[in-house]
């Protein structure tokens, strides 16, 4: 497909492999996978998407989403609809949002991630 379009595909930024995590010995590298490696595994297997859907559902059920919406609305009302950006809203609700995720939700997701890693351990 040829487009007379200026979209230039920069493959280099897409497929460069991650730099190896800094380790001192081989055992450490094997036993404690880095956050990057875990993340890649989760994404490639599709588990991350499933976890995200689960998280969305749990946060909806416990009212977290409604509470964040209310915070956004209050902030927007105060600042005026035309003076608010997405970045502003993210900045405003992130601290409260992170702090108010119920422990049960965190525990459930953590359990799922651990189970996943255990099941896919080499």
């Amino acid at each position: 497909m040829s487009h007379s379009h200026k979209l230039v595909i920069k493959r280099s930024s897409m497929s460069r492999p991650p730099p190896p995590p800094p380790t001192t010995n081989k055992d450490q590298q094997h036993q404690n996978p880095s956050l990057q490696e875990i993340n890649i595994k989760l994404i490639q297997s599709g588990e991350k998407e499933r976890l995200k859907e689960l998280l969305r559902e749990r946060l909806l059920e416990c009212g977290w989403i409604d509470e964040m919406k209310a915070l956004c609305r209050a902030f927007t009302r105060k600042k005026g609809r035309n003076n608010v950006t997405v970045d502003d809203l993210v900045h405003v609700i992130s601290p409260k949002g992170r702090a108010s995720v119920p422990n049960s939700v965190k525990a459930e997701l953590l359990q799922r991630i651990r189970a996943f890693l255990a099941s896919t351990a080499d």
């Binding site: 979209l7 920069k10 930024s13 970045d87």
Partner: protein, 586 residues
């Protein structure tokens, strides 16, 4: 360019978006559309160069950041966390013309210079298209046709612009002067001025005698007598029974007055609001209704909900047809019953194989809701249930949310949830030309003036030839916002923050009305299926009254909250009058 779509203002493009558009032709996001990935069919849209791509920031290599943006100009991906570091902003600052990016996980356009979301109609339409049609659709022409059929296709034929009329205070004309003199009773005069004092019961509270297992009828009648738009219609003499009988008696030429449930309702309103507090026997009404619903004519206990539906149908049938007006119930122009209770439901059925969605609109006078099959909130998996069972109080966000109790809102959420139809309920897909497994989602296209919710407490199984009653308690709010269950909200949650091409730019008058409702009547059922009793609670002047056949008593609102709701009646908040407490001299 800030036209109103479905009541929402289309956002103005930022200067960077304008510049970008001017430099990149009429469809600047066309190439990006090929990178829209949706999985599974109908799920969320993401932007990926290849389906298996793992997006990573070009500067810091991080793939675990929560916001990753792909520059639309050069396709480079960067992270964006304005407080820590935003490599996306760095990129946009370093190369002019590279300010517009797209969120790779949400498929939403973003201006890195403004730090805000921007919108492009064509791009958003393409995302919606991708989410409704299989990602493997080859040509854009076939795709856009399917789009038109599925999303913008079936317009409800009965939504018209409502004419606005200037307000003029009412004055009776000569004919009305005469009829007022003949058949009206003064509601208040000097002698009865004390009736208006706050210690007296409000107008229109009158017990109804039980004529033999007729509490099913009495309970519904009490609710209807205090349905604000219905009450106003009849008390405002909009259906004069004398005039109606006279006119139709002359046509029929029979001695017996022609059957008209609206006339009987008019008589009932007159009797109940006359000021006479002695219990009234609605015998004429019962007799008329028997003639209408012959199959239910007996002294056996009937289902109140069935009576409600049959009554509305009766009013619709017997009211004189005005040829000029639309006869379809959805518009509410046909009769007062539909004008008050009729809303429009939207049903989206999506084929799970190809993603093709067909949309239908149906009028409805109420919404029947299922109670949850098993105890507990909406915990689907067993692991969720066990986690909910300990330390529930500390973890629930809302102080009054008990994860174990069924609520009306929970029922409505389930009603509007996308539901996978079983393999035994395959529906015909127009695209596949064969029956396929489908995903169905209901939503409310148009809200009625009065929303009636019917809780399905009676389960009749024709297979096992038995019926049973579900006694489980259902919590219902006194104020209810229906916004989350509207089609616009449901679709918004399906597709994310988009400009919507659906429904065109139609200005539906109902969009101007608020979505907030107030509870004014609750019909409750107690007892067993075969030996039960209906009681109605009415909310007048913010006081609750229990109407049990001939007996009316004032009760505390806690009694109402604890009652077993069978039918709940909510009226649009703007139509609900909260009278002031002190009216007379006090």
């Amino acid at each position: 360019m800030s036209s109103k779509i479905n009541g929402h203002v289309s956002p103005q493009p930022c200067p960077h978006l304008l510049v970008f558009r001017s430099r990149n032709g009429p469809k600047p996001f066309r190439a990006l559309q090929d990178c829209i990935r949706v999985k599974p069919p109908g799920g969320r849209a993401a932007i990926r160069r290849e389906p298996t791509e793992v997006p990573r920031c070009g500067t810091c290599e991080e793939s675990s950041r929560s916001r990753l943006y792909a520059c639309v100009a050069c396709a480079a991906v960067f992270c964006h966390a304005p407080l820590l570091h935003s490599h996306a902003s760095d990129h946009s600052l370093s190369i002019p013309g590279h300010e517009i990016a797209v969120d790779v996980d949400r498929a939403e356009l973003f201006c890195c210079a403004c730090g805000d979301q921007v919108y492009d109609r064509d791009f958003d339409a393409a995302v919606v298209l991708a989410q409704t049609v299989n990602a493997t659709a080859t040509t854009s022409t076939s795709g856009s046709t399917a789009m038109q059929c599925s999303v913008a296709g079936s317009q409800p034929e009965n939504l018209r612009k409502r004419r606005r009329v200037d307000y003029r205070p009412w004055e009776p004309d000569s004919g009305e002067h005469i009829s007022r003199g003949n058949q009206s009773i003064p509601l208040l005069d000097a002698a009865n001025a004390s009736l208006v004092s706050s210690t007296q019961q409000p107008w229109g509270l009158r017990g109804l005698n039980n004529l033999g297992n007729t509490c099913f009828m009495n309970s519904i009648l009490q609710a209807l007598l205090h349905t604000p738009p219905l009450r106003n219609y009849f008390l405002g003499d909009r259906h004069n029974r004398y005039y109606c009988q006279q006119k139709n008696g002359a046509i029929n030429g029979t001695k017996n007055s022609r059957l008209c449930l609206a006339c009987d309702m008019d008589a009932l309103f007159s009797a109940v609001f006359s000021g006479d507090r002695t219990p009234y026997s609605p015998a004429k009404f019962l007799y008329s209704w028997w003639q209408h619903a012959a199959n239910l004519a007996s002294y056996e206990q009937q289902d109140a909900h069935e009576f409600f539906i049959s009554m509305l149908e009766g009013i619709h049938e017997k009211v004189e047809k005005d040829k000029r007006k639309s006869q379809s119930p959805g518009s509410g122009d046909c009769c007062i019953a539909h004008r008050v209770f009729s809303g429009i439901l939207r049903s989206d059925v999506m084929c799970m194989v190809c993603g093709f969605t067909s949309t239908t609109y149906d009028p409805c006078v109420d919404i029947s809701l299922d109670l949850e099959p098993n105890q507990g909130g909406s915990g689907k998996s067993s692991s969720a249930k066990s986690l909910n069972s300990f330390n529930v109080e500390a973890d629930c966000m809302r102080p009054n949310q008990n994860c174990g109790i069924s609520t009306l809102k929970g029922c409505l959420e389930r009603f509007t949830r996308a539901e996978k139809l079983g393999s035994d309920q395959k529906l015909f897909c127009q695209k596949c030309q064969v029956r396929q497994e489908s995903l169905k989602q209901m939503s409310i296209r148009k809200l009625p003036l009065v929303s009636c919710f019917h809780v399905k407490r009676f389960e009749h199984s024709s297979i096992r030839k038995m019926s049973r009653k579900v006694d489980r308690y259902l919590q219902f709010p006194f104020s209810l916002d229906m916004a989350p269950y509207l089609s616009s909200s449901i679709l918004r949650s399906r597709f994310g923050n988009r400009i919507f091409p659906f429904d065109g730019d139609e200005q539906d008058a109902s969009n101007d009305l608020s979505t907030e409702f107030e509870l004014f009547a609750v019909v409750t059922h107690s007892g067993r299926l075969d030996a039960g009793h209906y009681v109605t609670y009415l909310r007048l002047s913010n006081q609750w009254y229990k109407c049990e056949d001939a007996w009316i008593t004032q009760v505390n609102e806690s009694i109402v909250r604890a009652a077993q709701g069978y039918m709940m009646f909510y009226v649009q908040k703007v139509l609900y009058y909260k009278e002031s407490e002190n009216q007379g001299t006090s």
